[in-house]
């Protein structure tokens, strides 16, 4: 990505963001609400058109080949976006078909998703009746039904209890291990520690980019390196705020 910009009228949501994510990496976008995380991820997925900038996903240009990109990525939105009046099974079958999963693979993929999400016994339940944690796992499964190269997860663990969050990240690790690139946005600092590299985003700009260790070093103040990302984050934000105030 290079100099991605997104303006909504006079409001600049994303202000010249640039980064690169190599294959197989877990890359996290960390930042407070309203910083521009969701907007950026949606631009990468082709849901929103960037105001300006350049970028490519899976080797395809985001401006000229958005439909090709869509075939190679999986997306899980912040707000649950599967059909609540369809059963678990029906949702899986729907997205499998939409993504062109061939008939021979369908049964296998369905079984895999149900197993992964722990929903084998509940494949006939209405999706709306599931608890939040299960819904998220189903959404992850459906995002992966066509075995995409890149997964985009927008705040996937929002509103989920810590135990489920841990389980979820185990899933993400497994996925990355199998060679899938994972791009995740979150505002949970502790989750960000799990990522290979992080982009700290604040006010539409990346204020720090690197591994969790890199970021903590970046936030060093007077010889004191913060222990947690949270601490690093707060310092970096304060730095950015005072820089803006000048």
């Amino acid at each position: 990505m290079q100099d991605l910009v997104k303006t909504f009228g006079t409001f600049t949501a994303v202000d010249r963001i640039s980064f690169t994510v190599p294959r197989g990496e877990i890359f996290g976008f960390l930042g407070p609400n309203g910083a521009g995380k969701s907007t950026t991820i949606r631009m990468l997925c082709g849901i929103i058109e960037p105001t300006s900038g350049q970028g490519s996903v899976a080797g395809f240009d985001i401006f000229r080949q958005p439909e090709l990109i869509k075939q190679h990525i999986g997306y899980m939105s912040q707000k649950f976006s599967l059909y609540t009046d369809l059963t678990v099974e029906e949702n899986i079958e729907f997205y499998a078909d939409i993504y062109g999963v061939p008939l021979q693979r369908l049964a296998e993929r369905k079984a895999w998703i149900l197993e992964m999400a722990g929903l084998k016994e509940r494949s006939r339940s209405l999706t709306g009746e599931l608890a939040a944690g299960w819904k998220q796992r189903l959404a992850l499964g459906c995002a992966m039904v066509h075995e995409p190269e890149i997964l985009f997860l927008d705040e996937p663990t929002a509103g989920v209890d810590p135990l489920s969050r841990r389980a979820f990240w185990d899933l993400i690790y497994d996925t990355a291990e199998s060679g899938v690139t994972v791009f995740v946005t979150t505002h949970y600092m502790d989750e960000a520690e799990h990522c290979n590299r992080i982009g700290l985003i604040y006010g539409g700009r990346i204020i720090s980019l690197g591994s969790p260790a890199d970021i903590k070093r970046h936030a060093e103040e007077g010889g004191n390196v913060p222990d947690t990302l949270e601490e690093a984050f707060i310092r970096l934000i304060e730095r950015a705020d005072s820089a803006n105030a000048e």
Partner: protein, 376 residues
């Protein structure tokens, strides 16, 4: 592509079937409408309450009364030898028409003078009044002609004369002028328009409101696949409704279907592309289900009921409005459907309105798929 369309259609079916309310609307509403409209909108003028004020009390006046009461058009509501109560009778609506035979009626007749009678109608319901007056006029003229012929016979100029010009009228296609035969086929158009627009107007907007549209946008599915896929269940449901209305019309009201049922279904499908297309366009352009529903009601029901010729004849409208009706799809469909039902016409005579509907439908659907951009 076909696979995706099938899947979208299948999913839409599941949505419809799992939503009891929309299902009830789709099955119950058409039948309800046929029954209500069939019974309620009855412009047949029969059994009109007639007030007879006979001030002559003679054999000829009773003859005249007899002529009025013979047949189904008039029923005696009030019989009086006195003019005084007539105001009250008409005011209270106990009679819609009154026949006043003045004293001296019989005398005038036998003296060879022109006898006069008075017919008063309640003009507050002008439709009924005009028809009632027409019947009354016809009855009196027939009576008059009969009396003239009889008089000539009596005076011995031959074997009697027939009136110089006699009119025999016949109503083709709907011999008894049963208004229900006129209303029910038109109802198919109104119901199709209403249901299809209402239902489809919700479909895309609902996805937007629930947030599921995001997942659709990020997938490889194309707008035209979504649109066609979403249309299919509604087309099938509308077919079901057409059959329901035809059956209800036939079973409850004996409405004849003189043309080919296959043609009715085929041309209904063509009309559906237009009406469903309108619903879809609204759905794709609306921000909320509320908006979609309101716009759908206004843009489809009102024109299709008021401007299509369903209730009011197009020819009777001001010229500017008549031009306006030329873009109302329901108008063309109404012509088609009444022609098939009552006149048994075939595609050879109906290809022009059918073509218009086809082009209109294709155009609207194309417009919808253009508007449905895969972007938030």
């Amino acid at each position: 592509m076909l696979q995706r369309i099938k899947m979208v259609a299948w999913k839409e079916f599941i949505h419809i079937l799992r939503d009891i309310r929309s299902l009830a609307v789709v099955i119950v509403l058409p039948i309800l409408m046929v029954v209500l409209y069939g019974y309620a909108i009855n412009t047949d003028v029969r059994h009109l309450p007639l007030a007879i004020i006979d001030l002559d009390h003679s054999a000829p006046s009773r003859d005249l009364m007899g002529a009025f009461l013979h047949g189904e058009y008039f029923d005696v509501a009030v019989y009086s030898g006195d003019y005084a109560g007539l105001d009250a009778v008409m005011d209270r609506g106990r009679a819609v028409i009154a026949l006043v035979i003045p004293a001296g009626y019989a005398q005038d007749l036998s003296a060879g003078r022109q006898a006069q009678v008075q017919v008063i109608a309640d003009g507050s319901d002008s439709t009924t009044a005009t028809t009632a007056i027409a019947y009354a006029t016809a009855t009196i003229q027939q009576q008059s002609a009969g009396l003239a012929a009889a008089a000539v016979l009596r005076h011995g100029t031959g074997t009697g004369i027939a009136p110089p010009v006699e009119m025999r009228q016949r109503f083709w296609y709907n011999p008894e002028l049963k208004s229900v035969n006129f209303i029910v086929p038109g109802l198919i158009a109104v119901i199709l328009m209403m249901l299809s627009a209402l239902l489809t107007s919700m479909t895309v907007v609902r996805e937007r409101e629930r947030g599921t549209i995001e997942q659709l946008i990020v997938s490889p599915v194309m707008p035209r696949e979504l649109i066609i896929g979403k249309l299919i269940p509604y087309i099938l449901i509308s077919f079901l409704d057409v059959i329901l209305v035809i059956a209800a019309g036939r079973l409850i009201f004996n409405v004849p279907l003189n043309g080919s049922p296959g043609l009715v279904l085929a041309l209904s499908a063509v009309f559906l592309t237009a009406s469903l297309g309108i619903g879809l366009l609204i759905s794709v352009s609306s921000g909320s289900q509320q908006t979609a529903m309101t716009v759908a009601m206004m843009a489809t029901m009102l024109p299709s009921v008021l401007l299509s010729g369903f209730a009011f004849p197009v020819k009777a409208m001001p010229v500017v409005i008549q031009w306006l009706t030329s873009i109302v799809p329901a108008r063309y469909f109404l012509t088609i459907i009444r022609s098939i039902f009552l006149k048994g016409m075939g595609i050879g005579q109906l290809w022009q309105p059918a073509l218009f509907l086809l082009l209109f439908g294709a155009g609207i659907l194309w417009l919808s798929s253009l508007r449905f951009k895969k972007k938030l």
